[in-house]
């Protein structure tokens, strides 16, 4: 019995009137955890009851603590009939189980009912006493921290990034159980909410166990999803990246080593000094030594000792500095070899992170994706149904031991896809996949599983134990961290996986780079970008015949390659039209419906200075003899050229003129190539690899051979840029804007359109879909016009096809204001600086060419932690220390809780992570018209979900949610019956932040330039 959970019910307010006669309520509360229930006294005749209960104590296993939610039910006492439920509050007590997170949950929680929505609030205090040493309990994984953030959380430092963790649990969906026919919708919804809460808890615990096995202490980039498979069940699956993190903000341990003068100077060598003398450990760099002196040696010793007892997961072969050194040869090969061996031991060398510690990412290969069409089968397990029917108090069964069939099937499906991803990455000369994510689309019994990521070569230093010591003091900077390094091709030039058009890097002129780069990650912080970026979307619909089972699956898998191809072509065209050469944050979503497939790809286009200037788009007609046709073609061509020119101006893309002679290398035969390696398979294992390159053509040529192609060209030109003062991107931040001000507005917008069944042709469908997305964006720009100048960041579109003729698009994003004047200045200076930097980098490279560096490698194969990592967080720790007494939020009646899909809050420092927020809600109504129709219903529900998230964060003592995402928003309506139902799943990290203005004391000590660069590099972009 390792834990004691203590709960106190303080008071209620704004309760609904339950007794019509008196216009009052006789409320009491049931507090339930596991199978134990306590009750408060009935507080007679009040809408604002003051229970002030005793402490209800639950003595429970920590395993239960992790799995079970605390369930608080508010009821109206009725002497003669059954007590009426007012509503419930589910509290996830997981945040109380980590030592550094919240210590108490205390605050007002909205009382939620799945039929009536929020009905008043209840004030609750929750505490947990853990008795025993956590590490002794193998079934629980208390203490493993979870983060939704897909980068190393601020105020932590990554000691080791272990790698991929995944888990899934399967269960019968209560909505489809026999008992559902006799129970009320409320009971059914609550059973579902509770079940999913239990399954999430269990999933998180199991993932935690895997992390402990890997000797990690945290999961970063944790993404948990639900697959509502209907009759065949409910799957909860999660992926994440196991890490060992060190907290940096603990002032006691931190203060002596990090006093501000040293910090100030630290920034100079790393950010300003163009030529850091990194190889000497002499007197010129004493500060660096100092920097590292406080990187907790404790953690290293722990690793090295742990490696002795480590499980097979920690790779050892090829790691020794000696063995690697014997290989000699160019650095790249060595590095690959090492990393490879480090990663090959892992089943899947995948990372869900999208932003990385500096130096982590060595090369990026390109996007890899895999899709698979599967048929869902009903789960046959009568015993389980019986148990699940008992909704009063069931303990979730471990399905793995109970049913040998089901999760294994799902596991096998995913394993298959991951294997494919891995092999694609290998084909690109990469041994790791970063920015990895998985998704599903389900329609009836057909399910499309998708996975995608970015093939990459990683710096092995972060990936393993015990090898970091020794090199710490001596080698601090690596040439790998040059700003263009990640653009260089990881694959062998002579043995390319696909035809590609390579040039020498426009930055260092030493290495080959591709002409276009597609990735699923965020723009690396040290990348040099020219101008600003923009949101680029490819949208596509394809009609499909209605079919059953196998035939349906076959039809879908036949369509998929064409969709992928077209989506890719659209992206490429639009990118060129914008005059840009790289895509970041690429996310391709394929959604399956009864009679159509939808594809939506979103990404942020940028102009990478290291990559060549993109060529234009050439239009070619098929019938060159026709004069008027020719004229038309040339007219189109002119329009396209004008658009490109306009876009270049709009996004301030003015690459420095570099004549070819300087580059000094003949550009290889120009060919359009594609970096998207994909495959899809239907239940069988057949893998079709699609060559998306366009063969040997002088430029990117669009052939207009039929009306379809004409349409495509038109649609290219119809995308309107955002109104002036607005920018948009789907990455964390907008490349080229650095001066964010503190105003943020997170929002969710949902649109559903009904297609008229008459005009269902592919073209009409495409147009409808395109208009839907464009209009949605236009509406957003209009609504947020008061925030100009501002940028929509992390724009996340989700498409679903709830019914035959319905298309639903859900968008979540955050609008952030920026200071236009200052922003312009900084961009200018940063461009100048980066150009300067680029040139100095060249010189530097001449002095220490990459090949030369490898000579010194054998003795120190792994570059140590770069100081930037530490620096980045140090002001945070400092700030935290200094501002400890400052209250985190302004005193108003209800504390403001910010929500953002980003991992940071502009103009503020995150000082503490309080734990993960993962909530699932169902709302149902049988009086749709009375609630304002579908729009009124969903509007109110989303507002309620926001409110519940904010309340939970506030109760944890936080004032913001970062990395917030709405993972699911499943909306079903039946207007004829006046009914609707919606399921929403959201998650994020609860944090405490402190305004930077409160930290001014700290920053004012730094020279302004330094402050600037530390803001942009450390705070904003990570």
């Amino acid at each position: 019995m390792p834990g004691k959970l203590k709960v106190k019910i303080v008071a209620g307010r704004h309760l609904p009137v339950m007794d019509r006669a008196s216009d009052l309520t006789d409320a009491f509360v049931e507090v339930k955890f596991g199978n134990t229930t306590f009750k408060t006294d009935v507080y007679l005749k009040s809408l604002n009851p003051q229970w002030n209960s005793e402490w209800f104590k639950f003595e429970v296993d920590d395993e239960d603590l992790q799995d079970e939610p605390l369930q608080i039910t508010v009821l109206d006492h009725d002497t003669y009939s059954a007590n009426d439920a007012i509503g419930k509050v589910y509290i996830d007590i997981d945040p109380l189980l980590y030592s550094e997170a919240a210590t108490v949950i205390s605050g007002w929680f909205p009382i939620y009912d799945t039929i009536h929505g929020i009905r008043g609030e209840i004030n609750v205090v929750v505490k947990v006493d853990l008795f025993n040493d956590l590490n002794r309990f193998r079934q629980s994984s208390c203490g493993v921290k979870f983060f939704c953030t897909t980068s190393i959380p601020k105020c932590y430092r990554a000691v080791i990034i272990h790698g991929f963790v995944e888990e899934l649990v399967v269960n019968e969906d209560p909505e489809y159980q026999w008992i559902d026919r006799i129970r009320t919708p409320r009971a059914s919804n609550e059973a579902r909410q509770r079940l999913i809460s239990l399954m999430s808890g269990e999933l998180q615990r199991k993932i935690g166990l895997k992390v402990l096995e890997m000797r990690g202490n945290a999961v970063v980039g944790y993404l948990q999803c639900f697959d509502l498979e209907g009759e065949s069940g409910l799957v909860v699956r999660a992926i994440g990246t196991a890490c060992t993190l060190d907290k940096l903000s603990s002032p006691a341990a931190f203060l002596p080593a990090c006093n501000s003068p040293s910090k100030e100077m630290k920034e100079i060598p790393f950010n300003e000094d163009p030529n850091p003398n990194t190889h000497s450990s002499g007197p010129s760099t004493p500060l660096k030594n100092q920097t590292y002196s406080f990187s907790p040696s404790k953690s290293y010793s722990r690793q090295s000792s742990s490696s002795d007892t480590d499980l097979s997961l920690t790779p050892k072969t090829g790691m020794g500095s000696g063995s690697a050194g014997k290989e000699g040869g160019p650095f790249k090969a060595l590095l690959r070899q090492q990393t490879q061996s480090a990663l090959e031991q892992r089943e899947f060398p995948f990372f869900t992170l999208t932003a990385f510690p500096p130096g982590f990412l060595v090369h990026v290969g390109g996007v890899v994706s895999a899709r698979s069409v599967k048929l869902l089968d009903r789960i046959h397990n009568p015993a389980f149904v019986g148990i699940m029917g008992n909704t009063r108090s069931y303990k979730l069964l471990d399905w793995n031991s109970f049913n040998s069939d089901e999760p294994e099937t799902r596991d096998a499906w995913w394993a298959e896809i991951r294997q494919e991803i891995k092999s694609h990455a290998k084909a690109l000369g990469c041994h790791a996949v970063v920015g990895y994510s998985e998704s599903t689309s389900i329609c009836e019994e057909v399910c499309i599983l998708s996975a995608s990521g970015t093939a990459a070569v990683l710096n092995p230093r972060f990936l393993q134990d015990g090898t970091v010591e020794g090199c710490l003091e001596q080698r601090l900077e690596e040439n790998l961290s040059t700003r263009c390094g990640f653009c260089h091709i990881p694959y062998d030039e002579l043995n390319m996986p696909f035809p590609a058009h390579l040039t020498y890097c426009y930055n260092c002129r030493k290495q080959k780079v591709p002409d276009v780069l597609f990735t699923t990650i965020d723009l690396p912080t040290d990348a040099t970008v020219i101008g600003k970026g923009c949101l680029i979307q490819a949208r596509l619909c394809r009609l499909k015949k209605k079919a059953q089972a196998e035939a349906n699956a076959t039809a879908i898998s036949n369509l998929l390659p064409f969709m992928e191809y077209e989506v890719h072509t659209q992206l490429m065209n639009k990118l060129k039209l914008k005059g840009m050469n790289a895509l970041f944050g690429l996310r391709i979503q394929i959604t399956v419906g009864e009679n159509m497939l939808m594809g939506l790809a979103s990404a942020t286009g940028v102009y990478l200075a290291a990559l060549p200037t993109p060529g234009g788009i050439q239009i070619a007609g098929k019938t060159p003899n026709d004069g008027s046709y020719e004229q038309h073609i040339s007219h189109m061509q002119k329009k396209i050229n004008d658009t490109i020119a306009k876009n270049k101006e709009l996004y301030e893309i003015n690459p420095p003129e570099i004549s070819e002679e300087i580059i000094g290398s003949p550009i290889p035969e120009p060919r359009q190539r594609s970096r998207l390696l994909r495959s899809q398979s239907e239940s069988s294992d057949e893998v079709t690899e699609l060559d998306l390159s366009h063969g040997k053509k002088d430029a990117f040529v669009l052939e207009i051979d039929d009306t379809d192609a004409m349409e495509d060209v038109h649609s290219l030109l119809t995308d309107v840029p955002p109104p002036s003062g607005f920018y948009s991107c789907n990455t964390e931040i907008m490349p080229g804007i650095n001066n964010w001000t503190s105003e943020i507005q997170m929002f969710t917008s949902v649109r559903v359109i009904r297609l008229s069944s008459l005009n269902l042709t592919n073209q009409a469908l495409n147009k409808n879909f395109n208009d839907l997305c464009e209009n949605l964006l236009k509406s957003l720009y209009f609504k947020l016009r008061s925030m100009i100048p501002c940028c929509l960041c992390h724009v996340n579109f989700t498409v679903s096809l709830p019914e035959d003729e319905l298309i639903q698009v859900t968008v979540t994003a955050v609008a952030i204001t920026f200071d236009k004047n200052q922003a312009l200045q900084t961009t200018k200076t940063s461009v100048e600086k980066s150009l300067q930097r680029a040139s100095t980098d060249n010189e530097e490279l001449l002095q220490f060419p990459l090949e030369l560096c490898s000579d010194s490698l054998p003795s120190h194969p792994f570059p140590p932690v770069k100081a930037v990592t530490v620096e980045k967080a140090s002001p945070v720790g400092d700030g935290n220390f200094r501002n400890r007494s400052a209250p985190p939020c302004a005193n108003s009646t209800v504390g403001v809780v910010k929500m953002t899909p980003l991992s940071f809050i502009p103009g503020a420092k995150i000082t503490k992570y309080l734990g993960i927020i993962n909530m699932f809600f169902i709302r149902e109504t049988t009086s749709l018209r009375e609630e304002g129709g579908v729009s009124g219903f969903l509007h109110a529900f989303i507002a309620e979900v926001f409110a519940m998230v904010r309340a939970h964060v506030a109760a944890l003592g936080g004032n913001a949610v970062v990395s917030y995402i709405m993972k699911q928003c499943v909306f079903m309506e039946n207007p004829n019956k006046n009914q609707a139902q919606c399921l929403i799943n959201v998650s994020g990290d609860a944090v405490v932040f402190v305004r930077e203005s409160d930290l001014e004391v700290v920053s004012s000590q730094q020279p302004t330039t330094n402050c600037q660069s530390s803001c942009t590099e450390g705070e904003v972009t990570t």
Partner: protein
């Protein structure tokens, strides 16, 4: 392609002041969109009509959801569903409870019951204010009335506390509640020249001097009702009009004091007895509810109109009223000096405010 569902929910609730005004003014979404188009917003922002339509619908939906909370403004401050900065909350409340002068004119002094609600249609037609807006304003009056009706303490403070209104608006509401409670007749043609401000001013004076709360702030602190005892006592003032000697003496005192100071002296002298009788009788009659209701009609009829027909300038009216009320102190046979002062103190203020074209 038809839009089935179209929503936008921000973590901070977006409030568009212009749309809020249109909503408060009771325009339908279609009308509001048309009005916004006319305002030139499309040209300014480059938006399309469809965008405007969707935006307007969204705001209307938000306002509709907020309306329930606006009915009890403290709830708006404590609720968790809509995150709204405090300054915006104040704006929402203040604008929601604001009313149209033309509307309040029609309802002032009427019983705030359901019966009157039927008249809202007529008021709407008459004033050109949309029925929806009329209904909102009427319901606001009624709601405030209901809440503060039985409460003790300062009327203005009670309203401010329960509806979080600005001082100015709370005072106006106090006047409306006071008028509704005492059912003062304000609809007569004779009173058409008065503004709501005139009535509100009088109401405030009367609340200060003429109610229970005015005399004893410790006990029975009710600002709503006129002090019955005070009204009863005022019967005693009758003697000023009934006793011929007293009346003559009063007249001579006033005339002596004002001789040469008043431009309209002769008219005053000729009319003194009528005016004085009128004012005293108003006071003496206030025991009957019917006469209380007619207070303003009586004051205008008995004092304002006679003076106005003789073209008294306002300064003369002030001189006269001051002297008229002060001279009573020199009347030896009159014992109710305190009562007289309390009455005239209020009345003088009211009359001066009511005296205009």
């Amino acid at each position: 392609m038809t839009s089935e569902l179209d929503i936008f929910v921000g973590n901070t609730t977006l409030i568009d002041e212009d749309v809020y005004r249109l909503w408060l003014d009771g325009y339908s979404v279609t009308d509001a969109v048309a009005l916004r188009v006319r305002s030139g917003i499309l040209e300014q922002t480059g938006a399309t009509a469809a965008v405007l339509q969707s935006d307007t619908m969204d705001h209307y939906r938000t306002f509709h959801m907020l309306e329930r909370l606006l009915h009890a403004p403290p709830k708006l401050l404590h609720q968790l569903i809509f995150q709204i900065p405090p300054s915006r909350q104040a704006l929402l409340i203040e604008r929601y409870y604001a009313f149209d002068e033309a509307f309040v004119w029609e309802v002032l002094g009427k019983k705030l019951s359901k019966g009157t609600k039927k008249d809202l249609d007529d008021i709407s037609t008459k004033t050109g204010i949309t029925l929806k807006s009329c209904r909102r304003q009427f319901d606001n009056f009624k709601r405030v009335f209901k809440v503060v009706e039985e409460m003790r303490g300062s009327l203005v403070d009670n309203i401010q506390q329960h509806f979080l209104l600005s001082d100015r608006l709370a005072r106006d509401y106090a006047a409306i509640v006071f008028f509704a409670n005492n059912r003062f007749e304000t609809g007569k043609k004779k009173l058409q020249y008065l503004s709501f401000g005139d009535f509100a001013f009088c109401a405030e004076l009367m609340i200060q001097n003429g109610t229970l709360g005015a005399v004893d702030s410790q006990m029975d602190d009710m600002d709503m009702d006129l002090d019955k005892e005070f009204l009863q006592d005022m019967k005693e003032l009758k003697v000023l009009a009934a006793d011929k000697d007293l009346l003559d003496l009063h007249k001579s005192l006033v005339c002596t004091a004002l001789l040469g100071k008043l431009g309209v002296f002769s008219e005053m002298e000729a009319n003194f007895k009528n005016l004085s009788r009128g004012l005293v009788n108003v006071a003496a009659k206030l025991t009957h509810n019917k006469d209380v209701r007619d207070l303003f009609v009586d004051l205008v009829e008995k004092f304002v109109e006679p003076c106005r027909s003789d073209h008294w300038p306002l300064s003369d009216v002030r001189f006269f009223l001051n002297q008229y009320s002060a001279s009573v102190h020199s009347l030896d046979g009159f014992r109710h000096q305190a009562l007289w002062d309390r009455y005239m103190g209020t009345l003088r203020g009211c009359l001066l405010r009511l005296y205009h074209d």
